[in-house]
Subunit: 409 residues, 4 copies
């Protein structure tokens, strides 16, 4: 511990030299809230195989139990996203109460438009009106559930698309999509938001109705201010500059939230920060810059971002994978909070390419463990949440759940 | 020729069976106009080497001469795009007159925002206001030139971007870009259009200020109805469904034009239709469908598209490469005109995935040479423009121009 | 039919002009054999959902029944690949007899190294020796099954890989892989071949032990002449020139077979020829050129290629999707057979870039339906296999199988 | 400086806890040699524009002067690669002497097969034998130059390829390539190595004769032990796991060297470590693991790797960009040296996915500045080479060279 004190003092001195307020960074970092998804605690896999793990929760209540453990150890995850019908229960108020009893609240409600047999050829863009109606009703039902559980975010992924040229009429499907979203939007309460996700491909392999941020933006822009775009970090073509998209959406007041995960190839849904940590840092750097912006719309948009994790833990134990993700997010967010913005601006103004680049990269290269340690210690949290979990005995306790718990179904 | 008559009769019979009006297709095909770029007649290359070809035009007038040959042989290329300052002349009215004398008109005017030394770190998004001003003035000068030459299209590629994280402030640059475009837009005459191009990367390698169709759309949408998006077929991430983007922009009334070329990797600028002919067909299928749309905005947008070629003939002779591109465009457009739309709609309505797919693919597999032959013969054009060029003696005639003609500078 | 005669005569005349022997092409085309996979008749899907179709075969025998229908209608699919344990039966000789009774033979045997719970962290590259042993035993069992069913091809996809940096020791896994393959190779009979597949990613998302053709080649080259590489057309990074890889492997005598399908994004497993038909043609052009090569090793390698389909029909009916794939393969192979090779060589020798390119592209643009029609009619096959299937009543007949037949498990 | 002592002590304590020998790491790090390229000091750019910088060296001698500055300040760059004919001089012994006088030696000699007009359609794979001969002669001349300057590495990039299907005969070109390399290989002295580079695309846009590591490996394997593969970190398809390729080539004794740079899109040639620093670390982790391997061939191969930088500084000042690259390489190599290998192996053996991943990632997250500081201070080098260069006055001194120095020509 003495070492960590020393390390903290060194970091503090360095920040001082760079004109960075470490206390302010610590305060902001301590406020960061990351929502975990109920389905992240259940079994998942690839199309080839779902490997069942022991101790996986068997229902929505047990998923909340697991989410509560993550919050208890990290102090950063006070809400849990639910997915309907995976988390369908008879009494949603009871579910919300269970969350509160566990120190949590229900976060985003996620409709499911991809697992009903009727949706094989599309849900809200299906050529058959009765299927579009069914899908809209499901979303309206989710809005009702939001009221029951006290959620303010409807997190919508429309998986619709086609597998072959000619299979569908792209423009007609676009109109149906707009109609459906309009009806859902109009059903929202004033304090509710609709976050519209986009995805490059999968499960559709020729065209996806909402394939990129531009299409999601277009939909949101037509609906109104309560509609915003949700960025899943794994839903882009290779090479895409995600932080650029983040900056553009922030500038337009249309960035509503994130689904964090990491990827090397497609929508790999790996642990956040495991593949390209610098990219995650650069995304947070855009956000922290926006939070500090003099443009009120931009700053408010940034401060209202819903940070959510969306991963598929196919081969690793799920709860520690979630804790690891939260810690990785905290690590990169912490680094972004230590960027010396005035220095960066100064070098940009001087067209000092190397100097400006160095400001961001060198900030990324800092070791921020002392800062994480401080905010954990100050709040009475374990300084090493991974270790604390391993020692908690929780894995042993849930083994009684057996194999074959809840999955993506 | 007898064979072609037979082949035409067979195609006609097949179209009749499929409920396709071959005469109407022939009429529409005959009207197709494809603009060729003055710079496509000059030397170009990769960053490693520009291989100089003999006979390359030495100035804007000679480029128009070459473009006139392409039009004479294809009947489909009545306009030529110019690029300022590559085509800078003292007297633009004289240049326009030379075009008219050659049977052409001046098409789009293209400003150059990437070759002045001042633009090394950006033109309209440069941190230095005097450089932004210079770039804006250059675009305003291009609007003046449009008036001189009778052009109605300002075709704008903003190559600005950064090579390193931190080098620039993305949101600030976005605001500068919007400011600059606003000033140019306001200077347009009522019958002028501003077509905004986007590009995934190159010459910037970290972020490009207008990186995708969404960013170009956003800019156009803020400006007003005279601003539209220009799609260069080579400016997308790998795997992008370009025809989907085309459909979305058509539906929004924001598709202004194309820069046609083909690519396998990045912005390879190869001859149109040389790498992925089916994709080109699918793009035209979206356009033809839009031309037939009952939604007037959609149909008018489709009919007003500016079809332009933008290629870099690094190793092949330039005039025949241009003729080849025009023919390839005609070929795929012809196929798109033969799609049996009612049948397609019927199968889509029945959720007949294989049947609907077959409609498009089988149309693509048709041999449309008889149709091309007919529209050429009817108009007194050579039925084989490539052969006609080879036999024209033009290559020999221009060899007197020598080596070292005009290039990208 | 009269029309088709006319069309055939026109094609014949054109081939004569181009110096192409249409009869020889017809003979070669008629010999083309394409193997269909037993699993292609069963249910499949994405990781999000397997949509169950009615009439799906319930066991290996019924899969052979479906494969027999495809062969009956196309005359091109005399063998069916099996997958162990999906096609596990008590009596493999009975299965082979059932195939023979249905006019088929058993083709490649495919081991499964990805669905046993033990394989979660690897099969033949697993750090635990008992799991590697188990996987090797499974492959040896497949060699035994080959003897029972009279198969000569062991078609091996090693799905092993890791999801995170550090998870595995890449070089150590490579050595284990080589050890395992050696043992299997040594168990092969003299007339058996081991075809080694590679894949860019999925189900592993950080590294895949056999990630590209180079790694598969390396393994094959160490084993000996009976080991060759299997190219799945959907297993490459975006932009990869697959026909180039095909040419290289042919030149080295190491191209053993194909898994045909098509893709736009990742390993989409769509119907062959549905997304990028020109690429399929170019692959066949390399093969036909190799078949004609004066280098005996090259020619023999080309003639011994095992053509296999490997698709995932998630939303389309499976039997017609298979027929469609076979027809698309025949179409592009037919085109490749019509390439005027001497003309191509002549233009290549003259460094006539445009002329040489035109030879291939124009061959692709031919309508080869008359040729397909001829070889079908000559052999008493339906000239339109898709229509013949629709009219056969087979779909109705198998509806009694109900929903919930065999899938990837 | 007191702070750095403290930081060093903390790092030392942490290493001790993790079982890592910091002294050994420091020794190995101090030995790391990184070769800089003469052309990296000259003007370069994109195909759109080469922005000329002031002070760029005007000839090979001045490039060596600049390289010497980089070595003087970093202590890590004792050799400089030359490129013929860009560095053509009358007296190569004089050039080598100038290098020695500047504290350097000449490293790899790079032939140029892409800038002669004759090479437009290929050099060693050109259909015309006299051009193939010319290209071979040029490479043989480079071997002679190697003798003159005392170089032991022939670093060969074959840029040959085609832009269009059909343009060339892929297999025939492969044979010509093999013939040419054979002749060059046979001319090498016993202590010379031929490093064969590969590249996914550019300047060829349809097929590149040496397109991937497998093709380069194949060529090297046929030649003999003195031929090895050169990995340019920017020459792969998107998503490629470069460290995997590195591991495979190490395992085969065929990894000869690197061209380091970074990329986000294509062959962007940006400063090493600027875009994806974790990937660079993972590459070095494979190398350090191989250096420690019990397999002597693997270990020797790793220790003999030629580390070379190959960048294109289009918009940033060239000398500091080179220093920055060297420092980034040192940073990631330093981190790789601090991996606790025994712990990693232990967790791999336990199939502890999260634990094993954490070992690498946490090592990457260390701040290794104290280690860099130590090895610089011990050797009397500036602890901050970038700052030392800025303060050296060298930029001012070379401004007398003016604008318009040497570039890629």
């Amino acid at each position: 511990m003495h070492r960590m004190d020393q390390a903290y003092a060194l970091l503090e001195a360095e920040c001082r030299d760079r004109g960075v307020d470490l206390d302010a960074a610590a305060r902001r970092l301590a406020e960061l809230e990351v929502e975990t998804p109920s389905w992240g605690y259940g079994d998942s896999g690839t199309r080839f195989k779902v490997f069942k793990q022991a101790g996986v929760p068997r229902n929505a209540f047990e998923k909340i139990d697991d989410a509560a453990v993550v919050h208890r150890l990290t102090g950063a995850c006070p809400s849990v996203a639910i997915h309907i019908p995976w988390d369908k229960v008879d009494d949603y108020r009871a579910l919300a109460q269970h969350a509160r009893d566990s120190g949590l609240r229900i976060g985003a409600v996620n409709p499911n438009l991809f697992q009903d047999d009727d949706y094989m050829l599309g849900s809200i863009t299906n050529v058959r009106p009765e299927i579009r109606r069914k899908a809209i009703q499901h979303m309206l039902e989710c809005v009702d559930i939001m009221r029951e559980v006290g959620s303010t975010v409807l997190s919508l992924w429309v998986p619709d698309g086609t597998n072959y040229p000619g299979q569908g009429d792209i423009r007609r499907r676009k109109r149906w999509l707009e109609e459906a979203l309009r009806e859902v939007y109009d059903a929202l309460d004033p304090d509710m938001r609709l976050l519209i996700e986009y995805k490059f491909f999968e499960p559709a392999f020729y065209h996806t109705d909402l394939a990129d941020w531009g299409m999601a933006y277009l939909a949101a822009e037509k609906l109104g201010p309560k509609a915003q775009v949700l960025v899943d970090t794994g839903h882009h073509p290779q090479g895409t500059n995600v932080e650029h998209i983040v900056a553009v959406l922030l500038d337009e007041g249309r960035l509503g939230g994130f689904h964090f995960n990491s990827r090397k190839y497609a929508d790999d849904d790996l642990i956040v920060g495991a593949i390209h940590p610098y990219e995650l840092f650069l995304i947070f750097a855009e956000i922290v810059a926006a939070e500090r912006s003099g443009d009120q719309r931009v700053a408010q948009t940034a401060r209202a971002i819903a940070y959510m994790i969306d991963q598929s833990h196919n081969i690793e134990p799920k709860i520690p994978a979630m804790i690891r993700s939260v810690c990785n997010i905290q690590t990169q967010f912490a680094k972004a909070l230590l960027v010396p913005w005035d220095l960066l601006r100064e070098r940009q103004e001087q067209n000092d390419v190397l100097g400006a680049e160095a400001v961001l990269r060198e900030t990324f290269e800092l070791d921020v463990r002392p800062l994480l340690w401080r905010i954990r210690e100050e709040r009475g949290l374990p300084v090493d949440p991974m270790k604390a979990f391993a020692e908690s005995g929780y894995m042993g306790a849930i083994s009684s759940r057996g194999i074959g718990g809840s999955g993506w179904s």
